[in-house]
């Protein structure tokens, strides 16, 4: 039965994968811009990268990876119709996502206090090349804000899914689609983390 392979669940998955492919095109040039800027301004760029808050960055990575595990768990449990456990897993995922955003906000607030917002007032005390540092921070803010917007959308979708969840076939398909998107947002962060927080740490 050829048609059986492409049932409704696979249609949803396929739709999400095609959407994620367009998202790869959306995020990709950010990484290209980073590579070119770093190639042109190597030492000043690396110096600026080592001034980001590694503790919050590492903690946030662990939080996001754990939230991904929680939503993967929700998908496994939904297939077993363990509705209550699915809801608990979704709550863990949403809680972790919210915690990520709170820590990110704390980090932005610190950056603001330290005068690291690109513009006329930009000044990074530990840097010998202010132009390179400012370009790094432009990339840092653009990429993390773009990521945060995606994360907030994911939080909204998963919250809606949690509220409506009753274990129906439609619920299951939606949950799986949203989970795929959530994992994608996690994968983007997996690549952003070393580039924004670990570069220039080896002294």
């Amino acid at each position: 039965m050829r048609t059986a392979l492409f049932d409704e669940s696979n249609q949803v998955r396929f739709g999400v994968w095609v959407f994620l492919a367009s998202e790869i095109m959306f995020f990709g040039p950010v990484f290209l811009g980073y590579a070119i800027a770093r190639y042109a301004l190597s030492s000043g760029f690396d110096e600026a990268a080592s001034s980001t808050n590694l503790v919050i960055g590492a903690f946030n990575t662990a939080i996001l990876l754990t939230s991904s595990a929680a939503v993967a768990m929700a998908v496994v449990l939904s297939r077993e119709h363990e509705d209550q456990k699915v809801k608990r897993s979704l709550e863990v995922t949403i809680g972790m996502g919210a915690l990520f955003m709170i820590l990110k906000a704390v980090e932005y607030w610190q950056d603001w206090q330290e005068g690291l917002i690109p513009g006329d007032q930009f000044f990074l005390a530990s840097s010998s090349d202010q132009r390179a540092a400012e370009l790094f921070y432009s990339l840092y803010f653009f990429s993390t804000l773009l990521h945060s917007v995606h994360l907030l959308i994911g939080l909204g979708l998963l919250t809606g899914c949690r509220i409506q969840y009753a274990g129906t076939a439609r619920n299951l398909r939606r949950l799986e689609g949203y989970a795929l998107y959530w994992h994608f947002v996690d994968v983007i962060w997996i690549f952003l983390f070393p580039l924004l927080y670990l570069v220039g740490r080896a002294a």
Partner: protein
């Protein structure tokens, strides 16, 4: 696959991801020159593959799903290639993003 086995996979993959995270932070402190970036990107690739293959179930997905994102990755690869060749072969020193 039984659900208890699938739950074990989710937990094992999470443990592997955490291990990779610890490893990438530790290795970033060791001076390796350009290889620091190679190592950290390599570990990121492993982490991404763990998420994609196990959490996004690409490992057991039908072929159409596995192929869906390939054109985008290929096109992005071409874009990276062309832009990199352009920047690397400029005679005049360039300022980034121009």
């Amino acid at each position: 696959m039984s659900s208890s086995k699938q739950i074990r996979i989710v937990i094992s993959v999470w443990a592997a991801l955490m291990l990779c995270l610890g490893l990438t932070i530790a290795l970033a402190a060791i001076p390796m020159g350009p290889f620091n970036t190679v190592v950290s990107m390599g570990i990121s690739f492993i982490k991404a593959m763990l998420v994609v293959q196990f959490y996004m179930h690409l490992r057991t997905a039908i072929v159409a799903l596995r192929l869906a994102s390939l054109p985008a990755i290929a096109l992005l690869g071409a874009l990276f290639f062309i832009a990199t060749v352009d920047y690397l072969t400029r005679v005049e020193p360039f300022s980034p993003w121009q």
